[in-house]
Amino acid sequence: MTSQGSEEQTRLGIVVSGSLTRGVEVKLDALVSVEDMAVGRYVAIDGAKHRFFGMITDVSLETIDPSVTITPPDISDPFVAQVVTGTTIYGKLRVLPMLTIGGDAASILEGPQPAKTVPTHFSGVKLASQRDVEIVFGAEDEKRFYVGTPLDMETKVCLDIPEFVKRSNGVFGKSGTGKTFLTRLLLVGMLQKNAAVSLVFDMHSEYGWEGKTEKGYKVKGLKQLFPSKVAIFTLDEESSKRRKVSTDVVVRIGYDEIEPEDIELLRQTLNLTEASAQTVYQLAREFGDRKWLETVLNMNEDDGKQLISRLNIHDSTYRNLRRGLENLRRFSFLVPRARENSVQRILEYLDRGINVILEFGRFDDFAAYILVANLLSRRIHAKYRENAEREMGGEVAPSRPLVITIEEAHRFLNPEFSSQTIFGRIAREMRKYNVTLLVIDQRPSGIDSEIMSQLGTKITCLLDDERDLDSVLTGTSGKSELKSVLSKLETKQQALIFGHAVPMPVVIKTREYGTAESYKELGFLEAAELKKRTEKDMEDLWA
């Protein structure tokens, strides 16, 4: 009886018209106020043969006759208001049907399928129940990671992490909408479900040890939550020390590791002309791939003059190039000869299933970020590729999937550079070599549309620029409807997830991160508890 009562309470109205592409129109019952509705909320429609799941994409006010708007009824009278609501004047929803579940046993086992039709006329529409959402998104288990709750609901929306990491993914949103928190949560998810190992290029040093909320509270980073599964690499040891972060490896990159492609990528940031970027290739041919940079940087004026006359380089081009390359000297992590091979170290950690977070410390400018991220990723990708090829030959076991997280992705993946950077290739090749990307960006319109279309799952916080919205939603069905949902997201803790890893687009209130309770839920053990557990493990071991 009670359940019947609550069923009744969640009833919204009936389907009156619509189409699959534009969504169905739902006339609201008299007792349901339009003010209680919200775009992005889930509804369930009981069709004659199927049960449909859809999302509210628009809410409108309707009248039975246009003359009502000219001679409105006296709504101040409660009786009149009661009578005309739902009859003369009523609310209407536009609902985009996304999934169906058939009524027979076979269809139930099959699970939700994409909607290929619409419910019949006057089918009843209800707010989706907790159970409905569970059927669609599944409960939290060893594969699914709880990322948030649907709007106004307590049910958990879970992301299928193994599916998620199979493709490159994107996290988008304006500055200050919670991209970093969301990413941190996704990284925890990947780590917790052991689906992939992560390499994070942490430009602002906020994922590894600790980050800050906008209000200034500190939140724990991954290393604090999972000390044994995360290693912090740093480019700037001093900054790490100042922040009292215990780092595992200090990364040094030798001049010999920098290739002409890296410089070409930095053309804009180093203010190089097209000609001087091309000259780099000439120099590399002259002095060899591993020696050219050191040689050029150490050249005195006379040697320089000889060089330009020998290679027939224009004087101004050479000067421009020198000036640009001199800029590299301020990066103290660049050394003529690195004592240890950073790429090798990173790979060692990754092979052991330890997630690597590379902090940039004070080198949080684009030049350093682009240089290092591209350089390291290229080599790591090459190793993975090699491994994948060997695996095809049956020589080795498949390597653990790797997810490379990059921020300010439009700097790497814009139409101009996406074909040159390794990231463009990774995004295009997808999971062939077990390496995928997690791109984080606030300006998705800056990313090459080809790359955008290859992203499997997109998680988008509030975006309001028309071009950004268009770019994020390219190729998504129900684009214009989702656009209205996306632009109405709250500025904090809300995101729209759509794509490969979720059966249908969903607006979530992001899971709490930053409270003691949230850490505990994520698997963090306080020191005392950790000690207790270790002691118990030891007891068990020796018993």
Binding site: A30, I64, D65, S67, V68, T71, P73, D74, F79, V80, Q82, V83, V84, G86, T87, T88
Partner: protein, 210 residues
């Protein structure tokens, strides 16, 4: 038994005939005229009355009442110029109550056949000289469970303003319902659907429901 059946089933046997008010003197399929046994004792405007014959009961809504002389050519004249109270006129002229009569007109809105209520016109008009009774509240409550009869009144072509009859009828019927406001809201919604293309009429009608 589903709700509709319950709704359409006449719940109680016909009550006593204590509330007999008149007799049918003119009948057609859609309406009938009854003559009151007592002068000026017509049922109130909008009230529900019934008449019965062998085929069943016919229900109707009183839409007009008229007191006039029996003889069409003989006009009633004023007689009370020198009297203090109106009653004195009848005391002084006892023949008046025999020369004058009160008729009321009833719009047929439903009937009972067997044990079921039907909110549409009966197959046969009311029998002449059949008795007319005012309905008990129970009957009114039961009959107005369904508001399907409203469309008959809304679309009726009668000399009296239809909306006045609708208003009176619903106000009258609301007394038979436990939650009279809920009943009026329900009836109002029904009217709102019927009068969707005439918002002004609806607005003025709703004012008459209070």
């Amino acid at each position: 038994m589903d709700i509709k059946e319950v709704k359409n089933q006449k719940s109680k046997p016909k009550d006593g005939f204590a509330n007999k008010v008149g007799e049918v003197i003119e009948a057609s399929s859609a309406e009938f005229t009854a003559q009151c046994y007592q002068l000026d004792q017509a049922p109130p405007l909008g009230s529900l009355v019934k008449t019965q014959d062998k085929s069943g009961e016919i229900y109707g809504v009183v839409y007009n009442a008229e007191t006039h002389s029996f003889e069409p050519g003989r006009r009633v004249v004023a007689r009370g110029e020198n009297m203090k109270a109106e009653t004195e006129i009848f005391e002084a002229n006892p023949q008046l109550s025999r020369l004058l009569t009160t008729d009321f007109k009833v719009l047929v809105v439903g009937h009972v056949q067997g044990e079921s209520w039907h909110h549409y016109l009966p197959p046969k008009s009311a029998s002449i000289h059949s008795f007319v009774y005012t309905c008990q509240l129970e009957d009114v409550g039961a009959f107005t469970q369904s508001l399907d009869f409203l469309s008959i009144i809304v679309n009726a072509r009668i000399l009296v303003p239809v909306d006045e009859v609708i208003g009176a009828c619903l106000r009258f019927a609301s007394q038979a319902h436990h939650d009279s406001n809920a009943f009026l809201v329900k009836a109002g919604k029904e009217l709102a659907c019927m009068l969707s293309n005439d918002v002004q009429r609806l607005n003025s009608l709703l004012k008459r429901l209070k």
